[in-house]
């Protein structure tokens, strides 16, 4: 994955029109060859994966003798993810751009397929009531995960040389493009995954120079409209909000019913204290607290039990490192598509991490969402590594010759 000078970037196909003036200092100069900061993201991702495999094993078997079945499978997923990451570094940006829309439409097709009634359960097996997986025999595949990649590519490709998103009306097509996968995934229902698209889109819009007051206005309107959504929620979703409010109010009466998962997770998190507990003890604590989804959504609680506050901070720091890698790569890059891909991927990873950790420590309602790189799951792992691969893809391609600055507007 060495940065290769031979890989060249194609010149933009159409001449862009600038509404604003070019910032004076942003003169196109051939920059000195920077260090490949995407390596930081790769290191962070590998670290998180290692911690994840250990935590999955910890949450599943009582003794550390040999790796549990789930942890072994996770290793396979990581390997697949790595291969996919390498694979995504290779193709040219143009090819990626060409594949973006067909890929996105393909994903939408799969998402629609998931919702088609009368599809036999041998193909679409509901899990926890959600129709999110397609059975491919060897492994289950979650189209919503890969949709994220396609989404990032499509949006990045769309915003590449545009300025319409600087107007309020210009945000509309982006909203429509986002609405389709969000709606389809929400219908599965998988509120967790669907809730990630908006933050990722916003991150890309902010980076692409959309006017902040437009974005703030949208956020304000959404906040005002949010209560109207509440009655439409499913009973179990409502219950989670109620549970969160009671928990924040200090009401412990729900610790054994609707808030069981959250309270158990928090108890385990707290049990880690500063330095965590030894391996065997941690296994026992996780096992007998009957933490649901210990290897999956709740894996962060397992990590903190084992490694304490220190371990929790290390995990957060590794995510920070990944994001730094992605954002600095974006900063170093001159190609607008690369810039937005990095920001979009970071948006997805950060949002997902934030929601997952937030619900584990009791700040957010319980919602089914995995911790990137750490939680068990093939589709999720594949997506996360694809994102890492995309960041690397951006990092290894240096602009040759003068390059117009992108996303530089008068504020």
């Amino acid at each position: 994955m060495k940065p290769s000078a031979s890989v060249s970037d194609a010149a933009p196909a159409s001449a862009p029109t600038y509404r604003g003036s070019i910032a004076a200092s942003a003169k196109p100069i051939d920059p000195p060859k920077p260090t490949n900061v995407a390596t930081l993201s790769v290191i962070a991702a590998l670290g998180l994966c290692l911690i994840g495999v250990y935590a999955i094993d910890l949450g599943e078997s009582a003794a550390p003798s040999s790796l549990s079945r789930t942890a072994t499978r996770q290793c396979v997923y990581i390997a697949v993810g790595l291969i996919a990451a390498i694979a995504v570094v290779i193709p040219s940006p143009r090819l990626l751009r060409r594949l973006a829309w067909p890929g996105f439409l393909g994903c939408i097709g799969l998402l629609v397929f998931l919702l088609v009634p009368f599809v036999p359960e041998s193909i679409v097996t509901p899990r926890n009531g959600a129709r999110g997986w397609i059975n491919f025999g060897v492994a289950d595949f979650q189209p919503a995960e890969v949709t994220k990649i396609a989404f990032v590519l499509v949006i990045a490709g769309y915003l590449r040389f545009r300025t319409e998103h600087r107007t309020f009306r210009g945000l509309l097509p982006l909203g429509l493009v986002t609405f389709v996968p969000v709606a389809l995934i929400t219908l599965q229902p998988d509120l967790g995954t669907s809730s990630l698209f908006i933050p990722a889109l916003f991150a890309m819009l902010v980076a692409a120079g959309a006017r902040l007051r437009h974005l703030a206005l949208i956020v304000a309107m959404a906040a005002l409209a949010a209560p109207a959504v509440y009655p439409v929620l499913k009973p179990h979703q409502k219950q989670r909000f109620v549970a969160l409010f009671r928990q924040i109010q200090g009401d412990r009466t729900t610790a054994y019913d609707i808030n069981f998962q959250s309270f158990t997770a928090q108890t385990l998190v707290g049990a880690g204290r500063i330095e965590g507990v030894p391996d065997v003890k941690a296994r026992a604590l996780v096992r007998y607290s009957r933490l649901p989804e210990a290897h999956n959504d709740m894996v962060f609680a397992v990590i903190v039990t084992r490694f304490g506050f220190a371990g929790g901070l290390v995990v957060l720091a590794l995510f920070g490192l990944w994001v730094v890698g992605a954002l600095v790569t974006a900063a170093q890059s001159r190609e607008p598509q690369h810039r937005l891909i990095c920001v979009g991927c970071a948006g997805f990873i950060v949002a997902q991490m934030f929601i997952n950790v937030g619900m584990t420590v009791g700040l957010l309602p319980i919602i089914g969402i995995t911790l990137p790189f750490v939680s068990f799951g093939g589709s999720s792992m594949l997506t996360c590594w694809l994102m890492t691969g995309l960041v690397m893809h951006a990092a290894v391609r240096r602009p040759r010759g003068p390059m117009r600055p992108s996303f530089e507007f008068d504020e």
């Binding site: 009582a62 991150a203 980076a207 049990a271 026992a284 007998y288 009957r290 920070g320 934030f354």
Partner: protein, 778 residues
């Protein structure tokens, strides 16, 4: 900013980075709060889940009599309980619901609530039928009438619903008060939230409830086998997938303890050859007595109350050493009340609760290591009573109406007119106390009628509604009786001690106390026979002679001389006004003076000289007073617990020769032919000596005390009738082997039975025979 970072894109990236950091901050803060702030507590909470603790049963201490005979003991037994949702049949609905969900897994999420209910309804009958069958099987296994079982279920449901309502009300109240205290306004919305909060299910709505208590071993095995059985149910018809359910859902066999009272029912031989001749016979017969010492032993009940819990907490906080002994390392009281625990309700079972109550063991298993830590259970400690159960049973047998002494006999009233409220054959209620003088140990304490434990268990209202006989009342300690003439001997030493009577002083019997009134304050002999008592020299009576013949004039005079102060002192010296503290139920401490005032006018003072007027005590007071006299004026509190430390004796400092005079009077009263306790005169037979046990020295005194009539509205017309009237019959007695001093004090009272000598005398005589039979007297 623009100058530092000229590129907008880079500024935007910095903005995004800042947002990320800003979002991460609360995560880190909450992480710190949980791990650093609450870590210790949450670690403990998590670790508590590694342990599984199970209580192991314990045994309640025994109650023994002075000879070591077992009066109360635990017997292992089992309670059959059923989970509440099964009792209410809610189980069937839940189970049908989950089956329906399982069977229609694919379609379920798309079904409307109405369609779902319809599906559930199709499967419900199968589960309901299954429950009906389970109840039948349970009735069969426990050998219970199905109808009875059904009624018990209804009772459980009713009581749980009541409890739920009251708890919900209490919770809502507390919640509301807390919110008001926090200063929040109670709006309709908050009110809704409060009721939602308070209506969460209570434990009783999940727990099993005992439906068949105290089943023996073999039944419990059958029930356990039934509880372990599983069957396949075909709710959707025979060709559809079955649901495997318990044969008898929610059935649990629980460890329980049953309390046995092995000496509660006894067959006692009675020898009527020494009875008064009208009812004497040579044929020894057997009497079955029930409720032997039940007033003393008390009883248990199976459902403890909040007061029991509070009482135990209070006892533990009062006694730190006990508190330390009963707690587990985690600080849980091993003797705390749990549902189904037996708790002392009356008598020693109640007052001895802290001693008798056992401590449960605790078996703690570490789930991760499999390590087991066992805290052994500790049986409750035994309590040994001063009561001799065999003597108690004999005395009770004597006072059983069928035996004859305790039912109205023609010879009881002799030539006097019969008591209209107590025709011949009426059972006489009464009480008798036998006290060992030197130790003040109570050997026997019988109150008749006895308490029927079976009735107490099955239909206690019958006991509590019997206002005439009041079987639950222990007459020996809790019913006030005027003492009558039995106090006369006590007045002599106290009058001497207070300087109201000179040594050897004689007082003349004038027949009537007031020279110009022949109709009031009369001597009994003047009233009945129109004659006067003669002193030894022909003139006045000295103290011993006055006691022997029970001269009223002598003691009216003493009463007058002692005055209010002297009389109060006298009665208090001999034990009035202080509780015995026996711990076997309410005690009447004795009273002097018009109720509540304590004031004594001149007439009261004169009457109190002969134990009448505004003074009342109990049979135990009478026995204690006589025992004090026999100890030469040393008071010792009567006691019931053999191993408890004795109370400090109180020296009354009464003149020794006055006590001798009093004892001499008591001796003569039973042993000289002029003595009022010497004989009874029977129609057609003539005089018959009351005490006929050979080889004993005896002292004693009769008493016939006026009693307020007993009124009750028996016919239910709203007005009270006199159901009992007449005098209470007293006899007090001291006895020891011939030639020696007194060893036992006996007091007998027979309610509304008339003459002390005629009714209580023969009972006291038989008590002496019982003491001989049990080896206490030669």
């Amino acid at each position: 900013m623009r100058r530092v970072v000229p590129s907008m894109f880079h500024r935007r990236l910095l903005l995004l980075g800042a947002v990320v950091a800003l979002c991460a901050a609360p995560l880190a803060a909450q992480l710190a709060r949980l791990t650093l702030g609450q870590g210790e507590q949450l670690r403990a909470e998590a670790e508590s889940k590694l342990q599984q603790s199970r209580w192991t049963p314990t045994r309640r201490g025994r109650i023994l009599d002075r000879q070591g005979r077992v009066l109360a003991v635990d017997r292992p037994s089992y309670d059959v309980a059923v989970a509440y949702p099964v009792i209410t049949s809610e189980w069937a609905v839940r189970r049908a619901g989950s089956y329906a969900r399982r069977r229609h897994r694919e379609a379920w999420p798309k079904l409307s609530a109405f369609e779902r209910d319809g599906l559930i309804a199709t499967y419900l009958p199968a589960y309901e039928r299954h429950l009906d069958e389970a109840w039948e099987r349970l009735a069969e296994a426990t050998e219970t009438d199905p109808e009875v079982l059904r009624q018990r279920r209804e009772r459980v449901v009713a009581s749980v619903e009541r409890a739920f309502e009251s708890i919900v009300a209490r919770r809502a109240d507390a919640e509301r008060r807390e919110r008001i205290a926090r200063g929040s306004e109670i709006t309709a919305e908050i009110e809704e939230r409060i009721s939602e909060l308070s209506e969460r299910p209570i434990r009783e709505q999940r727990d099993p409830h005992v439906l068949v208590p105290r089943v023996p071993d073999d039944v419990s095995f059958d029930v356990q086998r039934l509880a372990d059985e599983r069957v396949e149910l075909f709710p959707g018809g025979p060709d559809q997938a079955p649901d495997t359910v318990e044969r008898a859902p929610g059935l649990v066999v629980m460890d329980a303890r049953d309390r046995l009272y092995p000496m509660d029912r006894l067959v006692v031989p009675v020898d009527p050859s020494t009875f008064p001749s009208p009812i004497a016979s040579d044929r020894v017969f057997e009497v079955e007595v029930f409720g032997v010492a039940a007033h003393i032993i008390g009883w248990l009940s199976g459902d403890h109350t909040a007061e029991d819990v509070e009482r135990r907490e209070a006892i533990l906080s009062d006694r730190p050493t006990l508190d330390a002994r009963v707690r587990t390392p985690a600080g849980v009281d091993r003797g705390r009340y749990r549902p189904g625990d037996l708790v002392g309700r009356a008598g020693i079972e109640r007052s001895g609760e802290p001693t008798l109550r056992g401590l449960r063991g605790l078996r703690t298993t570490r789930l991760d290591t499999g390590e087991t830590l066992t805290l052994e259970s500790e049986a409750g400690r035994d309590i040994r009573l001063t009561i001799d159960a065999a003597l108690q049973a004999r005395v009770q047998a004597l006072m059983t109406p069928e035996v004859g002494l305790a039912q109205v006999q023609p010879f009881h009233h002799g030539t006097a007119p019969a008591n209209p409220t107590m025709p011949d054959g009426t059972p006489i209620n009464g009480a008798a106390v036998v006290l060992h003088i030197d130790t003040a140990e109570i050997l026997a304490m019988v109150s008749m009628p006895a308490l029927d434990r079976d009735l107490l268990r099955t239909d206690p209202t019958v006991i509590y509604e019997d206002v005439i006989n009041r079987p639950a009342v222990n007459r020996c300690i809790s019913v006030p009786y005027q003492p009558g003439s039995i106090v006369k001997a006590l007045l002599v030493p106290s009058a001497r001690a207070l300087g109201h009577l000179a040594a050897g002083e004689a007082i003349e019997c004038t027949g009537h106390y007031l020279p110009d009134r022949r109709d009031v304050y009369r001597c009994w002999i003047y009233k009945r026979f129109g004659v006067l008592h003669q002193g030894e020299g022909g003139y006045g009576l000295r103290a011993a002679r006055a006691i022997e013949v029970s001269c009223n004039i002598f003691f009216y005079e003493l009463g007058k001389r002692l005055g209010a102060e002297g009389l109060t002192k006298t009665y208090e010296w001999f034990g009035l006004g202080e509780p015995f503290g026996l711990g076997v139920g309410p005690e009447f401490t004795g009273s002097i003076g018009a109720l509540g005032t304590g004031r004594l006018d001149r007439s009261d003072q004169i009457f109190m000289g002969i134990g009448q007027g505004p003074v009342a005590w109990t049979p135990l007071h009478a026995a204690e007073a006589l025992a004090t006299l026999a100890r030469d004026g040393v008071r010792l509190k009567p006691r019931l617990l053999l191993e408890a430390p004795t109370a400090d004796p109180v020296e009354l400092d009464l003149p020794r020769d006055a006590i001798d005079d009093a004892l001499e009077g008591l001796r003569r009263s039973l042993n000289e032919s002029d003595g009022t306790g010497h004989h009874i005169t029977l129609p057609d037979i003539g005089r018959e000596v009351i005490f006929n046990a050979p080889g004993l020295s005896i002292w004693g005194k009769t008493g016939t005390a006026t009693a307020s009539p007993l009124v009750a509205d028996l016919d239910g017309d709203g007005e009270n009738e006199r159901v009992r009237e007449g005098d209470h019959s007293w006899f007090v007695l001291l006895a020891g082997p011939e030639g020696g001093g007194p060893e036992y004090a006996v007091a007998v009272v027979m309610e509304y039975a008339g003459s002390g000598g005629r009714v209580s005398g023969p009972v006291a005589n038989q008590i002496l025979h019982a003491l001989i039979a049990e080896g206490y007297l030669p």
